[in-house]
Symmetry: C2
Subunit: 309 residues, 2 copies
């Protein structure tokens, strides 16, 4: 697909999201009833500052490098997008969508140190493995991906977790995967976006990134809107139509900068600049059914997608 083709596709896509998710022009209202708020203030539940809800289900098979409550609260510093089947791994936090057998979202906290090349960590020794902490009814398997034509695409990128071999290995749980077009997407445009996120650790002291799938509607000839996506394997693993990343960079002056990207799960020309994929974070929130960085008032942000606000 040509760069221009992708631009048109993205323009269409952005229009589609805009039309359907920005239609109501609702003021970004942080309701008291939003579950994370209620939960935070509910007596008897641990508060996010200390032990988060994410630590309810620590990663399986990681006895010697378990997630510490302090690491989880570092990663989730600015709020949980949702609280559905949350798993805390030693260096990332994940919410699992049992119906679609892929994540709702994964959350990572990156620093220059955590993404630096580390010869002690060998990615080639990591194996894709089923996540035993997921009930077998909802657990994806390597066989689901085999001959599907799709890659097992990392949501929390392996290259973001280089401090310990265990950190890297834990990104290979199939619960952290979603079916991605390989050549031209997972190994190309998507990988470029992941590298861009890592590069942000040169500009910011702390980088927080939330990654996940989208199932965006399209209009058909009858004028009606439909969501349509393939499902693969005997466990009917969903193939998302798009993927998103919402990123917050914390500068040395403590100012916060947000970037938000949506990429179609399609072959994308290598010459397509990343800013083509930038969207307003709210469009992703509406489409995903999630609220990102809920504990940051949008007025506290210095920029969104490089634009001063």
């Amino acid at each position: 697909m040509s760069g221009l083709g992708v631009r048109n596709l993205l323009a269409l896509s952005a229009t589609a999201i805009g039309a359907f998710y920005l239609g109501s022009h609702t003021k970004r209202e942080r309701l008291q009833q939003s579950s994370s708020h209620v939960i935070r203030h509910f007596p008897g539940l641990p508060t996010f500052g200390t032990v988060s809800a994410a630590s309810l289900v620590p990663a399986a098979n990681s006895a010697n490098l378990t997630a510490t409550p302090s690491r989880v609260s570092q990663i989730m510093k600015y709020g949980f997008p949702g609280l559905d089947h949350v798993r805390s791994h030693s260096d990332y936090v994940l919410s699992y969508d049992r119906r679609n057998r892929i994540p709702h979202w994964v959350f990572e906290h990156l620093t220059a140190e955590s993404v630096a090349r580390n010869d002690a960590v060998d990615r080639s020794k990591c194996d894709f493995k089923p996540d035993e902490s997921i009930h077998p009814f909802f657990r994806s398997q390597n066989t689901d991906y085999r001959k599907s034509g799709f890659d097992r695409g990392h949501m929390a990128a392996a290259g973001n977790h280089r401090l310990h071999q265990k950190h890297c290995e834990e990104t290979f749980y199939l619960s952290n995967m979603a079916p991605q077009v390989g050549q031209g997407f997972n190994r190309d445009a998507w990988n470029s976006l992941e590298m861009h996120v890592r590069k942000l650790t040169k500009s910011y002291t702390n980088v927080y990134v939330c990654t996940g799938p989208l199932y965006l509607p399209h209009k058909e000839d009858n004028g009606k809107m439909y969501v349509k996506y393939e499902v693969i394997g005997s466990n009917t693993v969903a193939v998302p139509t798009h993927f998103y990343k919402v990123i917050v960079g914390e500068a040395t002056d403590h100012k916060l900068h947000m970037e938000a990207y949506v990429m179609p799960n399609k072959v994308i020309s290598n010459d397509t600049p990343l800013n083509v994929f930038q969207v307003q974070p709210e469009t992703i929130e509406r489409a995903a059914g999630l609220l990102f960085f809920d504990q940051i008032n949008r007025n506290q942000l210095t920029s969104i997608n490089g634009n001063k606000i």
Copy 2:
């Protein structure tokens, strides 16, 4: 559609579910890691027997008839199917799917007394109303349904909540609705199923019923499987392909009987017997990403769909 047509359709549908969700023949394994188990045993979280997670977000605008913890624990006696955005109303409990703007599931507890005709309750005085407890990004509106061709179909049926006018009114929150084919489904076959459930209160002391949507995959000419569903209105409210009910009846001898139904969201001939729609509960669990009546060991059940086990 003829009765035979529906039977074929259901047979196909059942085969489809069977093939894709029963393929692995996994033993029904109640893992320790299943979140409800973990949460139940997690210190600092209220246990289900006393105050349930459902009471985190009580129904909005129901100050004079709020859900009591004891009523919630009655309704949810046999376990939560999931814990995503749970709302406890005074006579039913709901989990909201923010991405699809309709419920994941609703849970009701019926007795002969609670479903008895009560002239003090007037359904015609109830109005469909947006649920203010849902964040505006994810809240469905009456305008979403207007001219869509679909009914606002109750998940917790209005006719099941006749003890108080308030109980009936609370079933009219749009968060309790999903787009249903009107003539031939919502007003016919689905209504017959709801009446069947109410009639079970004549055979059982307590009837527990969980209701919700499904988005079932179908095979296309290219041999691949797809999930496809319409979305309506500016809030892109999902139109499920199917709906389910999973029911447990508690007999006077305390024996438990389960029934499980899946109906396509389509015109169904009035002469179609209800048992055509019966499926193994596990097929619904796999398709919905939920576990029903988790606190009942399947060995404790006396019958499933009328068959002794």
